[in-house]
């Protein structure tokens, strides 16, 4: 029996043509007459599939093992968030935000509250700003840990899944101590937070910051120089910098391609310019670089958390404005004005001035944009979420066409998508 090898002309890094669109080279065995096409297969992956990270459906046209065309189909989790938002008052939308990116709920809570506060022209207190920075960085680590666990398990490294989930349980405990819920935190309110940090929370967080780097080191030992991991990830799913920007990639996906765009550095909010942290930028734009960038991002988040904990001041956590914040219970029972304010805030909601605001922050997955439009009422006219995963996923065909079938799974995992924010 003779073995036959076929060489494929595979383009891994398509260039931009004169019209600015990607030029794709045909994937054919080298030396083969283009008229002579073998039969292609149509393979359907998902929407129910362990490795699609949610209800994503990929339809692949394959020539043997090589992907000729990849079409993602989404919408299997479309939960009409934006329509529901039009029927809810500003504070009632906050529980909805948890359920969009359920891997980093505090980031979404904070992003929405920040967008609405910008619309209303509210400045939150210093303590609230720093607590929100702590929440966002903690959830960045939280989300990256899940990404790490599920990517590893997709590629076959099961142990890493268990290690990262054990660390996530510690963060679940922190969520629960603060907000009462593990995942659906709903921690922010317009003008502040649902409650102040409980006693002992900062100590628990500090313990986490001390013990977590050890786990991260262990995972690095397992993966970073592992030949299987390198073989499955290096030079896979390469996307060039111009292509990445043109496709709207953000977050670690963009930075791994060499573009140093991080909203925290380029359009800072909440005093991020005063924190001392680096933004890791890769150079090859492949899955391995995306892995390295996210691993380093976790370490940088730990630095920010450390600094934020040091500078956490006392003082009120909520803006002292009875039109926004519910007065305390004892006040309501004793004082008529407080009772009326309580009634108005709960029954009417907090009215926002007519206007709009598009506010983008750096979420764990990329640039998260919250666009809120108000007509003067207590409910939005339009609430739009620019979910980074939606755009990141649209770049998937550009990254996998020409690769092998197993690379599709690796690239999909390295994009770090969450279907809740894709389908909204």
């Amino acid at each position: 029996m003779s073995t036959r090898t076929t060489e494929y002309l595979v383009t891994r890094s398509p260039e931009l043509g004169p019209d600015g669109r990607a030029v794709r080279m045909p994937v054919l065995p080298a030396g083969m007459d283009p008229e002579l096409r073998g039969e292609h297969m149509l393979i359907n992956i998902g929407p129910q599939h362990p490795a699609t990270h949610g209800v994503l459906r990929l339809v692949l046209e394959l020539d043997g093992e090589t992907v000729i065309k990849c079409t993602p189909h989404i919408g299997y989790l479309h939960s009409s968030f934006e329509k529901l938002g039009e029927y809810r008052t500003w504070n009632q939308i906050i529980p909805l935000t948890d359920r969009m990116d359920y891997l980093a709920p505090l980031i979404y809570n904070c992003a929405f509250a920040m967008a609405v506060e910008k619309l209303m022209g509210i400045e939150v207190t210093e303590r609230c700003r720093i607590v929100r920075v702590i929440c966002m960085e903690l959830d960045r680590v939280f989300s990256h840990l899940l990404w790490l666990g599920t990517t590893a398990i997709d590629i076959g490294a099961f142990t890493v899944f268990l290690y990262t989930f054990q660390e996530r349980e510690r963060i679940y405990d922190l969520h629960e101590q603060f907000t009462g819920a593990r995942i659906t935190t709903s921690a922010t309110r317009i003008g502040g937070m649902m409650a102040d940090l409980p006693v002992g929370w900062t100590d628990a967080l500090r313990t986490f910051l001390e013990t977590f780097p050890r786990t991260l080191d262990e995972v690095e030992t397992l993966l970073t120089n592992n030949q299987i991991w390198i073989g499955r990830n290096r030079d896979i799913g390469v996307i060039s910098a111009e292509n990445a920007v043109n496709h709207g990639l953000t977050g670690a996906n963009l930075r791994a391609s060499g573009v140093s765009f991080d909203v925290r550095k380029d359009r800072p909010y909440y005093d991020y310019e005063t924190y001392d942290f680096d933004v890791p930028v890769g150079e090859h734009g492949d899955c391995y670089d995306r892995y390295l960038v996210r691993m380093d991002e976790m370490r940088q988040s730990l630095r920010i958390l450390d600094q934020a904990l040091r500078r956490l001041p006392g003082g009120p956590i909520n803006v002292q404005d009875p039109r926004l914040i519910l007065p305390g219970k004892t006040d309501c029972m004793a004082d008529m004005e407080s009772m009326i304010h309580h009634f108005k805030v709960v029954m009417e909601g907090v009215p926002a001035p007519p206007g709009e605001s598009w506010f983008g922050i750096e979420s764990s997955k990329g640039e998260l944009g919250m666009y809120v439009v108000s007509d003067g009422g207590s409910k939005p006219v339009r609430w739009r979420v620019r979910g980074p995963s939606f755009i990141n996923l649209s770049a998937l065909p550009a990254m996998v066409e020409g690769s092998l079938l197993s690379d599709v799974i690796a690239v999909n995992a390295s994009l770090d998508i969450v279907l809740g924010e894709i389908d909204r």
């Binding site: 329509k83 029927y87 996530r168 679940y172 659906t184 009417e348 009422g377």
Partner: protein, 221 residues
Amino acid sequence: MGLNERGASLPMAKSGTSSFFTTKLDAVVNWARTGSLWPMPFGTACCAIEMMATAASKYDLARFGMERMSFSPRQADLLICAGRVAYKMAPVLRKIWDQMPQPKWSISMGACASSGGVFDAYSMVQGIDTVIPVDVYVPGCPPRPEGLIYGILLLHEKISGESLKDQIQLRAEDPERAGRPNLPAEVIDQVALPFGNSTKQNRVSGLVATAQLARPSDRNP
């Protein structure tokens, strides 16, 4: 577990009812079934993350024999629908359910799978029991891992109460009904009616005059 009370307990039972041997056989079969229920994790959203956490080290599903998550329905016993189901996803859910061979059970995990949850809107299935038959409902948003485990243990009790003599009724499945909704149309309309706060969803908040036109029809569910 009360097995001896459920079936006829006396070794000398009347003919036509369960005997000592059939109850013992029931016990063995049910022990085997509950001891290794292979779940088909139909995880869609946040509840899927809690299901993953339940399978991880802290809440370990492996102690129930359930760590082997079967993503192929052909090899699964238990469909855990974890997360909200959109109408676009409903045929997939039904198809996966139909592809599972008997004996099979299902757990509706979370408020969205059980009743639509927070999402009383145009694109969400208001409870997967309109699409597939459900054995155990686990409320919560998301239910804690302990909640899911409690639901699984309830299912264990339900399975332990089954008897081989009832297998024909229990395992009956009409091939004509494959791919069709689980409940008839009138019942779906009834169970999907808004309740609680859902009835108060209207675009215009009651006290504040907004610039947008008031739509009285909005006030009605």
